[in-house]
Amino acid sequence: MPLLKISGLTQRFGGIQALSDFSFQLEEHEIVGLIGPNGAGKTTVFNIVSGFYKPTEGKVVFNGRRINGLKPHQITALGMARTFQNIRLWNNMTVLDNMRLARYAWLGYSFWSAIFRTQRYRRAEKNIENQAREALEMMELTDYAEELPKNLPYGLQRRVELARALASKPRLLLLDEPAAGLNSSDADDLIHFIRWIHDEFKLSIWMIEHQMKVVMSLCQHLTVIDFGCTIASGTPEEIRNNPDVIKAYLGDDTL
């Protein structure tokens, strides 16, 4: 059974068809990519899968369960995490607190235990604290635990966001342009990093990325969309030589 199965996904915003009849399948422990020119509808796909948009038509099945119609926080609780194209951290909270909140769906205590500081509360908080520190340690961010994310350099902020996504212990990780704004050597680091995450946590990764180097060296399978339509899918090698893809990226006239 595939981990994620999308069939016939269509999204209209008023008169604009942002996505039409998108179908896709992702197996456990795969790294796959979603590419396409700007405005092709890639982030729309991610927004639907993570629950921010309700698709006009179509079906998303995650881990054997239909998830379109669920709220994003419910989808997170099922084991999906996501990073954003523009970094979205909680900037006035320490890095450690950012990690803590990633365990929110599995808190294990109620409002009243927080107010009365019950045994249950203390045990749960200790557990959360340990998991948060573990996430930081794995991503080599322990030194920055008490920093505010807004005071960190851009590359580190990206890493904090990734650490936060991992702290929720997902089975599927959606990465929206993880290499955006990184230079070539940072991007190389990122490639190693993602590969390491993939092996270490045995998770599946689906990424949107513009830097071909990153996509080509990581992904086992690629889907290309343009103007909301799927124009090609296959291995990186097949995609590289597909005339439709070249046309979409470079335009008609240049060929």
């Binding site: 994003p72 926080h73 909680w90 927080a114 996504a165």
Partner: protein, 358 residues
């Protein structure tokens, strides 16, 4: 031991205060102002949860104070007093000192439920719209009160004085001061514990980046409603204390002007700072009270140097020129308030050695 120094100091200060009041060494007016400061602290702290920590804009918080005040007063009469409205008292009046917390809790629960009713439709929207809805809620609550004749309507409701008398008959103590101090303590503890727990940090997460909060598993809608209910419940606590302190609930005491006072205190102190808002509530209440003396002095002074025509006199209405003016100056020169969103212990890290707050 050192870490409890400030805690012990505060407890001692409270005990001395109660002792002085009990011994009759405090002027009635001073006692009144001190109790009022406590009530304003609770009111401002409760508003701070929504406007400070959550970053929403509630403009009609006095409405929830009104709900608390009214239900508190009614409960108080129903429980401890024989009245035409409720018939004979449920408990004999000598139970009042022990069962008064029932009144407080009842008022808080009702105010929190009122908060829930307002929150359910209004958190479908944000920002300006929420502000408008809360203003409307404030007006609705007041006009409901105004139009129920059985509880006095615009004349207001009294009768809760009997409960205080019953408490004083049991042991002569400055009861309302004691309950207010306990109220402030509970309010600080609840907000502090909530906002240091991962559960409560969901509120800050919603404030700072709602999309990320939702994506990382925070049920944003539920968190917002929870925070709003806690906030309105605590405002209700301020209300019930006010109702018993003044001995009289009048819908007019909880109009938009009262809500504005709350806003001034929160923005003066710094959004999302408990110590800042406490400082602001003290400073603001003292300022408002001191205007009672400053305005006549100003009036006399201006008359004596001939700047005001003989026929015109500055009166207390001018307080509502000075107070909003303060808000304008504050927004212009120090929009983050006394402390911004930091606590006193962040500004003076050495304080941490002397205080323990859990």
């Amino acid at each position: 031991m050192q870490r409890y120094a400030i805690n012990i100091l505060l407890c001692a200060a409270a005990l001395i205060l109660v002792g002085l009041a009990h011994a009759g060494k405090l002027d009635g007016y001073v006692l009144h102002v001190i109790t009022l400061i406590g009530i304003n602290c609770i009111f401002a702290l409760s508003l701070n949860l929504v406007n400070g920590y959550m970053g929403e804009f509630s403009c009609g918080h006095a409405g929830f104070m009104c709900v608390g005040a009214l239900t508190g007063a009614l409960l108080s009469v129903a429980l401890f007093t024989d009245s035409t409205l409720f018939g004979t008292a449920i408990f004999a009046s000598h139970w009042a000192p022990f069962l008064f917390p029932l009144v407080l809790i009842g008022a808080m629960i009702t105010a929190a439920l009122a908060g829930l009713i307002v929150a359910l439709p209004s958190f479908k929207t944000r920002d300006d719209y929420l502000a408008i809805i809360t203003i409307a809620a404030n007006l609705i609550i007041i006009s409901i009160f105004n139009n129920i004749d059985a509880i006095g309507g615009p004349r207001g409701f009294l009768g809760q004085q009997q409960t205080i008398n019953a408490m004083s008959n049991f042991i002569k103590l400055p009861w309302m001061l004691i309950w207010t101090l306990i109220g402030v303590f509970i309010c600080v503890i609840v907000i502090r514990r909530l906002m240091t727990s991962t559960y409560g940090k969901g509120v800050s997460a919603v404030c700072q980046n709602e999309v990320a909060a939702e994506m990382m598993g925070v049920n944003t809608n539920r968190v917002k409603i929870m925070a709003f209910m806690v906030s309105s419940g605590l405002a209700g606590l301020a209300g019930v204390l006010y109702a018993h302190h003044i001995d009289y609930v009048n819908p007019k005491s909880f109009d938009l002007l009262k809500s504005t006072e709350g806003l001034v205190m929160v923005y003066l102190g710094g959004m999302g700072s408990i110590t800042g808002v406490l400082m602001a509530a003290v400073a603001f209440t003292l300022l408002v009270e001191s205007l009672r003396f400053i305005i006549p002095m100003l009036n006399n002074g201006l008359h004596s140097i001939g700047l005001l025509p003989e026929s015109y006199h500055l009166d207390q209405k001018w307080a509502w020129v000075f107070i909003p003016l303060m808000l304008i100056l504050l927004m212009r020169f120090r929009p983050e308030g006394f402390l911004g969103n930091r606590e006193l212990t962040h500004v003076f890290p050495r304080l941490k050695r002397w205080i323990t707050l859990k």
